[in-house]
């Protein structure tokens, strides 16, 4: 898929080791376990998709991956280096390789600055080149993301949402990062231009050998663009595997339910109505359920699920799951089905 895939066999460009990130809750009395133990690696040149419901820790993870947040416990290695061990000067240089783009296309753009000024601002902060060469590089990038040079001297309010999101991409690309974390970058865009932006990401990856961590709650987007997909629930990974496998043959009851909840725009005669409607909503990360944290909503729950935390097991090659009862065949049958079958 990507140019750099051949050397992806060795350790990842991002390595997450027993990551935990805790916050004091708003009233200061409790601890929010936003990330409560995650282990995985992201390979050079791949698109690593992260899906999960609101509050499952996706944005916290994304911010930690690019050193905007420090792990409370555990480590995140960048190409083998722990950025927390770098001096401040080396850290600044290092960080430009690991960038993040957020959902709101307006957030990173100053409404009183022209587009080109916003695009070259990070270079200016790093004092790279002179004003003329920065501008040249900025314009080049704007053209690269499909914006005409005349957009350069406009202001954000004169652009559409999709165009503003392109400006954000150009702004990050001028730094020539190795890794870009995309946090819900297409969520705010209309479908008609969403395809444009996703195609652009794919082109840039081919061209620059970029590695993406693509965070979204839109299953169709994540399954379209990812090489591998990780599924988060309440601060932990439930499943991780090749995108096609996760989407076509999921192993975890949560993934199965999530996939079946996605509304599909097909006419009724082509829709297989196998919706699994989960009850309730994601519990609070202050006091996640004991044992398996999905058990309060799991249609396959067993007594054991309240007692033991499921191990993180490789059930198929490269395909991991955290469920006591998942097998290479798939997730356990849900209790209702099992009952009606017997």
């Amino acid at each position: 898929m990507t140019a750099a895939r051949h050397d992806a066999a060795d350790a990842g460009i991002l390595a997450v080791r027993d990551l935990r990130i805790l916050f004091p809750s708003r009233d200061g009395r409790d601890t929010v376990k936003a990330i409560d133990g995650m282990d995985f690696e992201v390979k050079v040149g791949e698109t690593f998709g992260v899906i999960g419901e609101s509050g499952s820790g996706k944005t916290t993870l994304g911010r930690a991956l690019v050193s905007l947040l420090r792990p409370t416990y555990g480590q995140i290695l960048h190409d083998g280096t722990d950025p927390a061990t770098l001096g401040s000067r080396a850290f600044r240089q290092h960080r430009r390789d690991y960038q993040i783009i957020f959902q709101d296309p307006n957030a990173a753009l100053n409404p009183r600055m022209t587009i080109i000024d916003s695009v070259v601002e990070p270079l200016e902060i790093l004092r790279e080149g002179d004003a003329a060469s920065r501008r040249r590089r900025g314009i080049e990038m704007l053209e690269r993301v499909g914006l005409a040079a005349e957009a350069a001297d406009r202001y954000p309010h004169q652009l559409s949402g999709g165009q503003k999101q392109r400006v954000n991409i150009a702004r990050v690309l001028t730094l020539r990062p190795k890794v870009i974390v995309c946090d819900e970058v297409v969520a705010a865009l209309d479908v008609s231009i969403r395809g444009d932006v996703l195609n652009l990401f794919a082109d840039l990856q081919r061209e620059f050998g970029l590695t993406y961590v693509f965070i979204t709650h839109d299953i169709s987007v994540v399954s379209h663009i990812s090489d591998r997909i990780a599924v988060t629930y309440l601060g932990k990974l439930m499943e991780l595997g090749p995108a096609e496998d996760v989407v076509e043959r999921p192993l975890h009851p949560y993934t199965r339910a999530l996939l079946s909840s996605e509304p599909i725009p097909l006419p009724s005669h082509l829709r297989v109505d196998r919706r699994i409607i989960l009850e309730g909503e994601i519990p609070s990360p202050v006091s996640p359920p004991s044992g398996c944290r999905f058990r309060t909503r799991c249609p396959s729950v067993q007594p054991r699920c309240a007692e033991d935390v499921p191990a993180w097991r490789e059930v198929r090659p490269g395909h991991l799951v955290a469920c006591h009862f998942a097998t290479a065949e798939g997730p356990p049958a849900d209790n209702q089905q099992a009952r009606s079958a017997s």
Binding site: M1, E53, S54, S160, G161, G162, Q163, D190, V191, S192, I193, R194, G195, D196, L198, N199, A202, H217, I219, S220, V221, S223, H224, I225, A243, E244, A257, L258, S261, E262, P263, I264, P265, L266, P267, S268, H269, L270, R271, R275, I277, L278, E279, E281, I282, R297
Partner: protein, 352 residues
């Protein structure tokens, strides 16, 4: 295949829906040539033009289109909820034969909440933080019907149970901030349905919710509508939600209705190039890691709306003839599109 003007199309469309027609053979809601503009510092800003559609009793209609095309303002104008000092509304909104736009403010208040109810994307802004949810639901009933406090409470509890809230007797005495997002949306639905309205307008009611909760809410709306016969206008940008919840889909573009058709028909064979473009842009329906379709260009701004077909600058099928104003053309019974080429074009849908 007849070429007819918009009001005629609306009438014949209502006939096509004969199965869902009321006793009098009238549509429940008949919107005719609704045009809306806002007074701004820079003069009048036209926002919608000649929006016409009709809805039969119990019918569920999805209103789709990209951001800013006029979905919300159309919903709000049906209930006359737009700011009166700046919004100018033309056209007719016939509800059960009565033109709502001509009602006195007092009679309009009697319709609002009782015959037609509306729910919004962000339930927190519509709920009052200082009253319990039970009091608010009860009040929504007692505005329109004489009932004691005790009866109001009973009805509120029943309504909460109906929308699937566990332990409704307890929840009834809680405040909005004590509920989760999905639960609040259920409360909004309970409140909207407490007077058994004939029409519910739901404006992106699931957009802020997780997919698993969205599935709960769309299921609830569909089954309530099936059970109680409440008609539904479902405003959304999510074509999947429309496919699973609605019977008909109306596509809007740049302030106009461009297509109006039964859901299964339009998904299989859209007749307007814009609808086809929307369907083809959905990543779920295209090859994994393949190039995604998109619609080039952007929606023209209301200040610079071109003459003729408003989709022309982005349409790959544009031809001489498209610079003329387009009317809704009925291509087959119940399926109309605002494109003179619609009858001859073979456009891709959600399935190929």
């Amino acid at each position: 295949m007849a070429t007819i003007s918009a009001p005629e199309h609306v009438r014949s469309n209502a006939l096509q829906n004969a199965a869902g027609l009321g006793v009098a053979g009238q549509p429940l809601l008949d919107v005719r040539n609704l045009s809306l503009s806002f007074a701004t510092a820079g003069g009048a800003l036209p926002v919608t033009r000649n929006v016409s559609f009709s809805i039969a009793p119990g019918e569920r209609v999805g209103l789709v289109g990209e951001s800013g095309c006029g979905k919300t303002v159309t919903g709000l104008s049906l209930l006359r909820l737009l700011p009166t000092h700046s919004a100018r509304i033309e056209g007719d909104v016939l509800f059960d034969g009565t033109d709502l736009l001509k009602l006195s403010p007092r009679r309009m208040r009697a319709v609002r909440g009782r015959d037609i109810a509306m729910i919004f994307q962000e339930p927190m802004s519509a709920l009052d933080p200082v009253f319990t949810v039970g009091d608010q639901i009860s009040e929504a009933y007692r505005i329109h019907f004489p009932a004691s406090k005790a009866e109001g409470r009973e009805r509120a509890i029943a309504a909460l149970r109906e929308v699937g809230i566990p332990a409704p007797e307890r929840r009834c005495d809680e405040y909005p901030h004590q509920l989760s997002g999905g639960m609040r949306q259920r409360v909004m639905i309970a409140m909207a349905l407490i007077c058994k309205p004939k029409l519910l307008i739901a404006d992106e009611p699931t957009t802020a919710l997780d997919v698993t909760v969205q599935a709960q809410i769309t299921d609830l709306l569909r089954s309530l509508s099936e059970r109680t016969g409440t008609a539904l206008i479902f405003i959304t940008h999510d074509l999947g939600v429309v496919a699973e919840t609605c019977t008909r889909m109306i596509t809007m573009y740049a302030g106009e209705v461009v297509e109006d058709a039964p859901v299964d028909d339009v998904l299989t064979r859209p007749r307007h190039p814009y609808t086809s473009g929307l369907l083809r842009s959905l990543p779920g329906l295209s090859k994994r890691r393949g190039v995604l379709a998109s619609i080039p260009g952007r929606v023209p701004s209301p200040q610079a709306m071109p003459a003729g077909c408003r989709f022309r600058s982005r349409c790959t099928h544009a031809a001489p003839g498209c610079e003329a104003d387009q009317r809704m053309i009925e291509i087959e019974p119940g399926h109309a599109a605002r494109c003179w080429r619609a009858p001859e074009l073979a456009l891709a849908g959600a399935v190929n």
